[in-house]
Symmetry: C2
Subunit: 443 residues, 2 copies
């Protein structure tokens, strides 16, 4: 499937706050239009057509032919961009292939990334006479309702659209799955001197040919400073995985998300953050061994927080790689090993060596078990390990990394290192044993 | 696809050595016919037809309706079994469905299990007028050539078959992929009072309709005591994986295969052997800590050998399960941990505690790395980790389990425990580091 992105307008309302064309305004480190290209690329779209008008040269200079993003970009120039966005949308007629379905979106609308995947998958659900429009029925959640194009719907069809509509129940989010029917409607509207995209969509709506796909995730039309801030919020919120450890969810993300917001604006890579988190762990280990356990514990928690940041930056800036996942997983294990060795060393210096030795060995052998069982299960069965299914009641044990580092932090903070180590030893092995017992009946 | 197994004969040549019908003679713990059913089940065949004659009741009593093996078994009685095996093969005509292709084999032929998979996959390579016959061109490797049915071939076609053929270049291994053409030929042969299967196959061969599939792995017609022993050898040899660690290949398998041969005749399960191997490790650990390092080292090596036996028994007796693979992987890690802790404890008692502590911690953290990286790589990329590709020159490091336990054995045997531990520490972490560097460019 090919995609058309409309980027011809002037975006004057952003002028007081940002210089240059609106599609090129950086949001969390990436220009608005580039983010939309990369989001669609994740859905398998490789061929992009960008309609330029007001800022033709600037946009072309910034994005080039798409090689940098591993996609193909073709520019459709629209000298009449001032007439209305219907004229811009109609430029696709120059390249349209018969019976083709294509994605059309605005360069400056920002969506929770989950929206794209499910939307693109709908392409088989419309006929060649229809178009599909992503619409939002959650009116209380729509940003800047006044400025939005409203929709009066009936079932999953739009009856009428318009900015000034008073009787409406949904809002047009500016993301379309189009067919030749739209180009025909645009031609008809333009020949009647109606230059807005909404004019053409209304022609189709009056025939019952505008199908609606109601989205459940947030989006915003980035039009002014407030909506820009809202777009940042939407993207940052989308970084929190649906399934997250308890400590991660309730503590770490509160810190990692603001850190990610700051770091996204720099050129630091996820692997560099992974390495930084590893260095923090080594420092924590040394301070546990030779210095103040409170500082060491806090550093361990910071290491845990930074362990979230690398993944957040990777998802936010489309920098996720297979190697990054592996590098992170292995360095995390080493980080934990160092911290536990540092804690044990401090014990060894203060107490009898044998108990310290035994406790250290038990924790060190327990730490990799969580990941070993999970990954082996995945490799053998071909299915991801789902704690809710495979761990039963033991899924509440804080034996995963966020839980383990929290226990370490508490151990340092409360100066209860032996207790923290014993607790780690017990829960890591208890989790492994519970999994071996539970999985016996499952697989 | 359905399968027909011919088990109607008397098998008189086995009489002096075994009582009961030949198809039910146990070979490495499993009756011959049951092994063939289970081998074909691994290729996805679920519906079996067994032709009985001489030992109708005994075979039915033993195999039942197949529920025990998770397959369906139907019996085709052949009261005229004494006439010849063509009559037995023709009983399938009672159930034959038009245009069907089916597997036909002798109950008492034993193959290297690899033969079945590639043979069954050939079903699309013959037309409805042809049959496919697994033939062996490696005449020097054929067991009891005198008793075999010889084949004169031309390219991949049989021209003539017969026991008494003098001009031949291959041997019939008794495994067929059949079509209705065989049943027609059988009908024709029987009406001419030619009751042998070879008679019907010759009718097709004379028309160029017998395609040959030349097998490269061993097989044997179990007909007397010598061929029974040969069948045991073929199966045991097939248990050695193509890719095996150096220590495993050159040392461990020399012991594990004979142990497997003995244990296969008992009802011990692979998981019980896994657990036994784990217990051996714990005993080794205790002896390292408190007793004689030579005995402890030898026990560690025995643990390594038994680590091969569980898998061999699982493959040999069709007892491989997902859980078994997981259970083995996790218990192996625990076994290694215990042994290293035992070794470190002995160091701790004799020397300064700090170096012992550091060495122990370094080895304990190194041990799981090999598996962690391999499984994480598999989970992330969806491809199995291939040391030849991913390890480069470092694939020669004895950092996998067979190598590690061999170092431990040597450490105990030569009373060089500190050296063994230091070596383990170095090679395990060196392998992990090398993988992180190498994979960075690969994935």
């Amino acid at each position: 499937m090919r995609a058309l992105i409309l980027a011809a307008g002037e975006g004057s309302r952003m002028r007081p706050h940002f210089s240059g064309p609106k599609p090129l305004i950086k949001l969390l480190g990436i220009p608005l239009i580039e983010r939309n290209i990369l989001s669609l690329r994740q859905c398998g779209i490789k061929d992009f057509f960008i309609v330029t008008g007001c800022y033709k040269k600037e946009i072309q200079d910034c994005l080039g032919n798409g090689e940098r993003f591993n996609v193909n970009i073709t520019y459709l120039d629209n000298p009449d961009w001032e007439l209305g966005n219907g004229v811009s949308a109609y430029t696709f007629n120059r390249t349209y292939k018969e019976n083709e379905k294509y994605i059309m979106m605005m360069a400056d609308h920002i969506f929770n990334p989950d929206v794209f995947k499910s939307f693109v998958e709908q392409s088989n659900n419309i006929t060649d006479e229809e178009i599909l429009l992503a619409a939002d029925k959650r009116l209380e959640k729509v940003w800047d309702l006044d400025e939005s194009t409203k929709i009066k719907s009936q079932g999953d069809r739009a009856i009428k659209l318009g900015k000034e509509l008073t009787d409406y129940d949904a809002v047009d989010s500016g993301l379309f799955l189009c067919t030749g029917a739209l180009l025909n409607a645009l031609k008809e509207a333009i020949s009647n001197k109606q230059y807005g995209l909404t004019d053409a969509v209304n022609i189709l709506a009056s025939k019952g040919k505008v199908k609606l796909c109601f989205i459940e995730k947030d989006w915003v039309d980035v039009d002014d400073l407030e909506s820009y801030v809202q777009a940042e919020k939407i993207l940052l919120k989308s970084l929190i995985p649906a399934k997250d450890g308890a400590i991660s969810k309730h503590i770490n993300r509160k810190f990692s998300i603001p850190i990610t917001k700051i770091l996204s604006k720099t050129s630091i890579t996820p692997n560099q953050i992974t390495f930084l988190s590893f260095i923090l762990a080594i420092i924590s280990a040394f301070i546990f061994a030779f210095g103040n356990p409170i500082i060491a514990g806090l550093l361990a928690q910071l290491c845990s927080i930074m362990d979230g940041v690398d993944g957040e930056i990777a998802r936010l800036k489309f920098l996720k790689t297979d190697y990054g996942g592996l590098f992170d997983a292995i360095l995390d294990r080493y980080a934990d090993f160092f911290i536990v060795i540092g804690m044990s060393y401090s014990l060894l210096m203060k107490t009898d060596s044998l108990p310290a030795f035994i406790i250290c060995a038990t924790v060190l052998t327990g730490i990799p078990m969580s990941m070993l069982i999970k990954e082996k299960y995945h490799a053998i069965t071909g299915r991801a390990f789902v704690p809710e299914e495979c761990d039963g009641i033991f899924r509440y044990l804080p034996a995963n990394r966020d839980g383990r580092l929290f226990i370490i932090m508490l151990g340092g903070f409360l100066n209860l290192i032996p207790a923290a180590l014993i607790l780690l030893a017990v829960i890591t092995h208890l989790q492994a044993l519970a999994r071996l017992v539970k999985l016996r009946k499952m697989i």
